[in-house]
């Protein structure tokens, strides 16, 4: 009834290869895109700057990571370090006089090369050992960033981002920063949806499912894994630069610590591995749910409904965050993407019960 089509019926290969197989999906996405583009007009600057903007940027980061973890099946627990490389590289490039547009690309390339080197070092191993190796990479990059004054400007320094313009538009007002971040996130989304349909995307999936079997059918595991690390680190590096220029605007090493890596993995898992919509939903959920729940409890505590101490309140976001990860893994391992899928399937044939799929 809502979708005007009870199931997906294709009569040609071209219809089956379409990105949006049901017209309603396409209209839904276009409507969402228009809403997102017009957000600066109807969302108050406070909410836009502190909730919507980080959500968009972290969605881009989650998309970059889910290319590696969801499609290629390579675990990465040091992705914040990749983003840190991108952020610091872009700031130093802009300071050295490179145009912003070019320095975004170059910072992506620098993170891609460093990320691929670390990834290549870890390619002999998989699973738990890959987790540990990328974790070690996180600590190494952190240490280098903190202890090389040429990068961070000193141990406890914050590095302000210089004023820049993107394609002759100054990236200064909140709306401009939001639109730049949105453009990058949308670009990544379109890329991700299409990469699944290319030979590269299929090679990644083959590697994820079983690398020996992929090698047998002619997919070079080493090359494909390296390409996965390279692509994903490139996307992560540019996202880091966008994060620095559009959101933080003053960068410290703590903004890219180990906890941020964990948060990114949590976004990818809560959203659903390898899913586009899951990356958006997961980033929003992991970022915003602890904030909203903590605000709720603290307002309840302020009104005297629940007696909790200040110490408990300050630890509450951590508790909610941990409980959220555990809850999702136990109750819905496929994440928010699966929940969305269930709802969509229900409404696809509503008011009837069963889809002919």
């Amino acid at each position: 009834m809502f979708y005007r089509l009870s199931g997906t019926y294709h009569t040609s290969y071209a219809a089956d290869r379409k990105l949006w197989k049901i017209p309603t999906d396409r209209w839904l996405v276009i409507a969402l895109l228009v809403l997102a583009l017009l957000a600066p007009l109807y969302v108050s600057p406070l909410y836009l700057g502190s909730y919507v903007l980080p959500w968009v940027i972290w969605s881009a980061a989650a998309l970059s990571l889910t290319l590696l973890m969801g499609l290629a099946g390579q675990l990465h627990f040091g992705f914040a370090a990749v983003m840190a490389i991108g952020a610091y590289a872009s700031i130093h490039l802009v300071r050295a006089g490179v145009p912003f547009e070019l320095s975004l690309l170059l910072s992506g390339l620098i993170s891609a090369v460093i990320g691929a080197v670390f990834g290549g070092a870890a390619l002999r191993v998989k699973g738990l050992y890959l987790v540990m190796a990328t974790l070690a990479m996180q600590y190494l990059v952190d240490w280098v960033v903190v202890n090389v004054p040429a990068i961070s400007g000193g141990a406890h320094a914050t590095l302000r981002t210089p004023a820049v313009s993107f394609l002759f538009l100054p990236v200064e007002s909140l709306a401009a920063r939001y639109w730049l971040a949105l453009a990058w996130a949308v670009l990544l989304t379109v890329f991700f949806m299409n990469v699944k349909r290319t030979s590269f995307g299929r090679a990644l999936v083959a590697i994820r499912d079983k690398d020996f079997a992929a090698a047998v059918i002619g997919v070079d595991p080493f090359k494909t894994k390296l390409m996965a690390f390279f692509t994903s680190s490139f996307m992560g590096g540019v996202t880091g630069a966008i994060l620095a220029f559009c959101f933080y605007r003053a960068v410290t090493p703590e903004q890219f610590g180990f906890n941020v890596s964990i948060q990114l993995v949590a976004m990818v898992l809560v959203g659903g591995l390898g899913s586009v919509i899951g990356s958006w939903l997961g980033a929003g959920f992991v970022l915003l749910a602890p904030i909203f729940l903590t605000n709720l409890v603290s307002s309840l505590a302020a009104s005297g409904w629940v007696p909790v101490s200040q110490n408990f309140l300050s630890h509450l976001p951590l508790m909610i965050y941990g409980a959220m990860i555990i809850g999702f893994l136990l109750l819905e391992p496929l994440g928010l993407a699966k929940i969305y899928d269930n709802i969509r399937k229900y409404f696809l044939v509503w008011p009837f019960r069963h889809a002919r799929s």
Partner: protein, 292 residues
């Protein structure tokens, strides 16, 4: 030279105390094949448990066994409620579940019991032992001795009837079922034992630096220890611990003043990276052969 020897000894003793934390990791990995990244938080929880029992007014030597009983039960509960439902899931799910538990404990325990550092007084003199020019920290010395004893005890434990069952389970779950061993119970017991190991580690580390959330950061050196020693090897914990402790103390002892501090994390990271690149299964670990 005395400086070097002092670094060497204190490094070895610190390393032995790391191996106390790592022991719990190995106990669980060996039987269940689960990488328990919540072991640091488990040590923190155990430290809080010891402090809490002592706050009831009990002597520390009574408090530690009570805390051990509490943590044994806690380990059983964690295994029953969380990890058992993860059997057969990919490793990323298990890793993330234990990390979620780590985050939850790091928020919940200090949030409920207070986040200011809690003292645990084991009755150890703070004055160092002085041999020649070399100062030795008493807490670290006793901690090292306890670590040696505990690892020895676990080696002996694996020769008992129950330990043999645990070894069988670590070899193969299905054939253990076939000969009538309750695999679930064995894995639960290994979690309980990891809880007891966490109590010993929590009490010793808590007495040397106070009990607060920073105890959970012991996870990182402990991970280096188990990677270096081999994730499924109990003697590897000792050797790995001493190596990580010595390298992580001697190198920063000379480099920190040049490189600007906290080179210990770099050394630990490099140990992890190099081990994984050269010999991923560690010094004593068993190389797992993958079948398609």
């Amino acid at each position: 030279m005395a400086y070097f020897i002092e670094l060497l000894i204190s490094g070895a003793l610190t390393g032995l105390m790391y191996s106390l934390v790592a022991l719990g990791f190995v106990l669980i990995y060996k039987s269940a094949g689960v990488p328990n990244l919540a072991q640091g938080a488990l040590v923190m929880t155990a430290g809080y448990a010891v402090w809490m029992v002592m706050a009831w007014g009990l002597n520390v030597w009574i408090a530690i066994p009570i805390a051990a009983a509490i943590m044994f039960g806690f380990g059983l509960v964690v295994e029953r409620l969380l990890l058992r439902r993860m059997v057969g899931q990919p490793v990323i799910m298990v890793v993330m579940l234990t990390l979620g538990l780590e985050i939850l404990l790091r928020g919940l325990v200090p949030g409920v019991l207070g986040s200011t550092p809690k003292p645990i007084d084991l009755g150890i003199d703070f004055a160092p032992i002085i041999i020649g020019d070399v100062f030795i920290n008493r807490t670290a010395l006793y901690g090292g001795i306890v670590a040696l004893a505990l690892v020895g005890a676990s080696l002996l434990f694996f020769r008992t009837r129950l330990g043999t069952k645990l070894r069988a389970v670590s070899d193969d779950h299905v054939s253990s079922w076939a000969v009538g061993i309750s695999v679930e119970r064995a894995i639960g017991i290994s979690w309980g034992l990891a809880g007891i190991a966490a109590v010993v580690a929590g009490a010793l580390w808590g007495s040397s630096q106070g009990v607060d959330w920073t105890l959970s950061a012991l996870l990182f050196p402990a991970v280096a220890v188990v990677i270096l020693g081999g994730v499924d090897s109990v003697p590897g914990v000792l050797v790995g611990g001493i190596l990580v402790g010595v390298l992580g103390t001697v190198i920063p002892g000379y480099l920190d003043s040049i490189a600007g501090g906290s080179t210990r994390d770099v050394v630990t990271s490099l140990i992890i990276l190099l081990t994984i690149m050269v010999r991923p299964f560690g010094i004593f670990g068993r190389e797992d052969i993958e079948r398609i």
